[in-house]
Subunit: 457 residues, 2 copies
C-alpha cells in the first residue's frame, strides 16, 4: 500500500473530526417519531458524503420506515467487490441528566469523542467513507469495487431491510460483506468476528384452575401452575449444564482445531469474568470453556418467569397461571424452526398432570458463521496487525445480529465483522464515546484491508 495514504489521513485528521461532529450532531433517533426528520437528514448527510468522495448511483431509497442509503464505485475491473453495511440511526439518549456533555454535542475529552452514535455506528460508517476517500484522492483509484448499504433502522431491529435486500439482490451482489459495528476485545486488542449465534424465543404459559385459589382451602389437592412451570424449566438442563432437550445438539458443528487454538490464545480466564460479573463461580456446559460456551455452544436461558404474588409479605394463593419466557442461542448448523419443534415436544412431554400448557413463538433468527479460514477473514486479521502490531483475535459472538443472518441467507456471501469500538464505550447508554486512537488506527486498518483483500480473493 502507498504510504502517502497514511500521510493523507494524518493531514486531514482535523477536517475529518469536524465532519464527523457534523454527522454526530444530527439526532437521528430511529425509535422516536419526533426525530423522523432528523433520521432523513442523517440519510441525506451520508448520501452527500458518498457523492463527495466519488461514489456513483448514490441514492436515498425510501422504505416503509426510514431510508436506506446506497452508493457504489465499481471501476476496479476484475477485482473483488465489497458490500459495506452500516447504520446512521442511533439509540435514544435518556436519561439525559447522566450525560456529561450534550449527547449531540460531540465533545472531545481525553482523546475520546463523546456523542450518541460516536461508536455505534456513525463513527465507524464515517471511517469507511473517509478511508476510501483517502485511497481515491491519493491514488486515483481503489484496489477493490465497493457498494455502500447504510440503513436507518438498525436500532429498531431493521424491520424494512430484509425486503430491501431481497428486492435488490442484484444491486447488492458482492464477494464479501464487511460490517464495522462491533468491538475490539479490549484497548489495543483488535478482533475479527466471524460468527454470531442465532436465536429462538418462546413463551410458556401454564394454566391451572379457572381463578386463583386459596392455598389453605385447596393447597395440596390441585397442581400448582408454578410447580408445573418449575418442573418444566428445571427439565431443560441437567446438572452438568447440558441441555436435555432431545436432539438439541444433533446438528451443532464442532469447533475446528484451528479455532480451538485461536480461542485458547486469547488467554481469557474465568477469574476475570468472576470479578467483572461478581458471581461465585462460572457455570455452564461441562467440557467447554467460558469462551466456547458463549461463542460456539448453543444455550437455553429463561429470560423471565412470573406467576402469583410478587408484593411484600405473604399471600396464600395458588395462582391460576404461571409464565416463562425462554430464548435459545443457536449455533451452526442448528435450524431455528427445528429447534422450536424440539422445544415444543420437550415442554409437552415434561408438563406434569393437572395443568395445561400453551407455547407461543416470540422470535427466531438463524446462526451465522463465515469459515474461520476464509481469505477475507484472514486478510482482515493481517490488516489489523499492520497497524496495531499485536496478533488479531478471531472471535465469534454470543449475541445475534439479525441483519447479518439475513445477509447470510439472502446474499449468501461471507460476512466479516471488523469493529473498532471498545467494549466500555457505552453503546445504548449515557456518555457513549469513541476512542480516537481507534478512529485513527481504524482508518489505516481499513485502507490496508482493501489492499489485503485485493490480494486474497
Amino acid at each position: 500500500m502507498n504510504q502517502s495514504i497514511i500521510t493523507y489521513l494524518t493531514k486531514k485528521r482535523e477536517n475529518h473530526l469536524e465532519e464527523l461532529k457534523e454527522l454526530l450532531a444530527i439526532p437521528s433517533i430511529s425509535s422516536l417519531p419526533e426525530h423522523k426528520e432528523d433520521v432523513q437528514k442523517a440519510a441525506i448527510w451520508v448520501a452527500n458524503a458518498l457523492q463527495e468522495i466519488g461514489m456513483e448511483k448514490v441514492e436515498v431509497h425510501q422504505t416503509k420506515g426510514h431510508p436506506v442509503v446506497y452508493g457504489e464505485w465499481l471501476k476496479a475491473e476484475g477485482k473483488p467487490t465489497v458490500l459495506i453495511y452500516g447504520h446512521y440511526d442511533v439509540q435514544p439518549v435518556d436519561p439525559l441528566h447522566l450525560w456529561e456533555s450534550p449527547p449531540f454535542g460531540a465533545e472531545i475529552r481525553d482523546r475520546k469523542i463523546y456523542a450518541r452514535g460516536a461508536s455505534d455506528d456513525k463513527g465507524q460508517v464515517f471511517m469507511h467513507i473517509k478511508a476510501l476517500q483517502a485511497i481515491l484522492e491519493t491514488t486515483g483509484t481503489l484496489p477493490i469495487n465497493v457498494k455502500f448499504l447504510i440503513e436507518g433502522e438498525e436500532e429498531v431491529g431493521s424491520p424494512n431491510l430484509p425486503l430491501f435486500v431481497e428486492e435488490n439482490k442484484e444491486l447488492l451482489s458482492s464477494d464479501v460483506i464487511v460490517i464495522s459495528d462491533t468491538s475490539m476485545i479490549e484497548h489495543g486488542k483488535p478482533a475479527v468476528c466471524y460468527g454470531l449465534r442465532g436465536l429462538c424465543g418462546l413463551q410458556i404459559d401454564v394454566k391451572g384452575a379457572k381463578s386463583d385459589l386459596h392455598s389453605g382451602l385447596y393447597g395440596g389437592a390441585v397442581q400448582n401452575p408454578i410447580h408445573a412451570l418449575a418442573e418444566i424449566v428445571s427439565s431443560f438442563h441437567n446438572e452438568k449444564g447440558q441441555i436435555t432437550v432431545e436432539g438439541f445438539y444433533d446438528k451443532v458443528a464442532e469447533l475446528t482445531a484451528a479455532e480451538e487454538a485461536a480461542y485458547e490464545s486469547l488467554g481469557i480466564t474465568d477469574q476475570s469474568f468472576i470479578e467483572q460479573l461478581e458471581v461465585p463461580e462460572m457455570f455452564g456446559e461441562e467440557g467447554y470453556t467460558t469462551v466456547e460456551r458463549t461463542w460456539v455452544r448453543p444455550t437455553l436461558e429463561v429470560n423471565g418467569i412470573y406467576g402469583g404474588f410478587q408484593e411484600e409479605g405473604i399471600k396464600t394463593v395458588i395462582p391460576s397461571e404461571a409464565h416463562a419466557k425462554i430464548t435459545c442461542r443457536l449455533v451452526p448448523n442448528q435450524d431455528p424452526d427445528e429447534i422450536v419443534e424440539l422445544l415444543q415436544k420437550h415442554i409437552q412431554s415434561h408438563t406434569p398432570p393437572g395443568v395445561t400448557v400453551n407455547i407461543t413463538l416470540l422470535d427466531k433468527g438463524a446462526p451465522f458463521v463465515t469459515p474461520f479460514d476464509h481469505p477475507a477473514i484472514q486478510a482482515a486479521g493481517r490488516a489489523y496487525e499492520k497497524v496495531y502490531h499485536v496478533p488479531t483475535s478471531f472471535t465469534r459472538m454470543g449475541g445475534s445480529i439479525p441483519i447479518v443472518a439475513t445477509f447470510d441467507q439472502i446474499l449468501r456471501k461471507p460476512v466479516v465483522l471488523m469493529g473498532f469500538g471498545l467494549p466500555d464505550e457505552n453503546f445504548h447508554a449515557p456518555n457513549e464515546h469513541f476512542h480516537l486512537e481507534n478512529f485513527d488506527k481504524g482508518l489505516e486498518t481499513l485502507c490496508y484491508y482493501w489492499y489485503e483483500l485485493e490480494q486474497s480473493l
Copy 2:
C-alpha cells in the same frame, strides 16, 4: 330442653332482626382509620347487648388497636364453662358499585339479609347473644357458665388479641371454646370443624451476577438465577406429589379410623372439584383423597415466583435475581419452627452452583386439632342434628385461623368451630349476606348445644 325456648325465639323473631339490622348498620371496618369511631361504636353496641341479657362484668377493654368486649355469666355452679369468641369488626366494602343494596343497609331479600358482616361475623355473634337470652328469659337460668370474648380486629389479623389473652388467662379460663365464624358444608348440611392447618411462609431470593446480563453475551456461561430457583422449587415435590424435604412428614399425626370413616361419609367426589375449579384433574399426594389432602395432610405451595422480564415480547436478559414465596400448611403434630429449619436445610442443599440464596421467614402459625371424639365436638354434632335433621359433618379446614392456634396454645382448651354461614355468602366480597334459615335454625341449634354440653362435659 324446654320447648318454650323455641316458642320464645319464634315470637321474638322480628325484634331480633330489627336489632341485628342496628348492629349491621354500624360500619365497623377495622382496617380503615376513618372508621375507628365506628369500631368503638360497635364494641359499645355489643357490650350493651350483653348487659341487657344479663351478662355480668361486661367491659369494653381498650387495647393498642380496637377494643375487646368481655362479659360473663357464671351462676351455673358445677356446670361447664364455655368461652364464646367472635368479632364485631368487618371487612371494607369496596368495590361499592357492585353492591345491590347499601352494605350497611341490611336489606332482606329472598330470605337473606344483605350487609357487610351479616355472616362474617356480626350475625353469628348476635345469635350467640340472643340464644342465651332466650334460655335465660324462658328458664331464668343457663345450663352452662359462659364468657364472651368479642374482638374488633379479626379482619386485620387480631394483632392485639394474643397479648390480651395472655394477660387475662384467668379471666378467660373455661372448659371449651366455641366459635361461630365458619361455614356449613352447603345449604342444609351443618358441619362442626375440629381442626385447622398451621402455616409457615418463606421467601427465597436467588442472586446471580451483580446486574442483569445480556443473554447473548453471557448465556451459557453463568448460572441463571431463574434456572437455579426452578431447580429448588422443583426439588420440593416428587412426581407422586409427596414433599421431599427430609423429615417433613416425621411428626404428622395419621388419621384415626373414625375420622377416615367420617370423611368418607361426606361423599365428596373429585368430579365436583374438577367442575368447580375447571382443572383437567385433581393432583396431590399419592394415597390420599382430596379431602384428606386439604384437611389433614401438610402441603408446600409456591404462592408467587418472579424474576427477569415480564412484559410483552422478548428481552434477552439473564436476570440478576429471582424470587419465590412459599407457604406450607402444617398439621398436628408438626412444629412450625422445626419445619422452617428443615426447609432452610433443603433449600441450601438443593441450590445449584453459581448463585447465592437468601431465605426470609414471612410468617408462621401452629396447626390445631381438637380430638375428633371430644364430647364437646360430638355434642355440637347432636345439637345440629336436632334442628337440621341430617347427619352433621365433622370437618377440618385447610386454612389457618391464627387466633384459634393462639387459643389452643395459651388457653389449652378444646376449640369447637360451629358455623352457620354458607360457603357462597360472599364473605369479604360485595353482597355479603346471611341466610335467615340458618339464622333461625342456628339460634335453636345453639340453645340445644348448651344443654347437650351440660350433659357431656
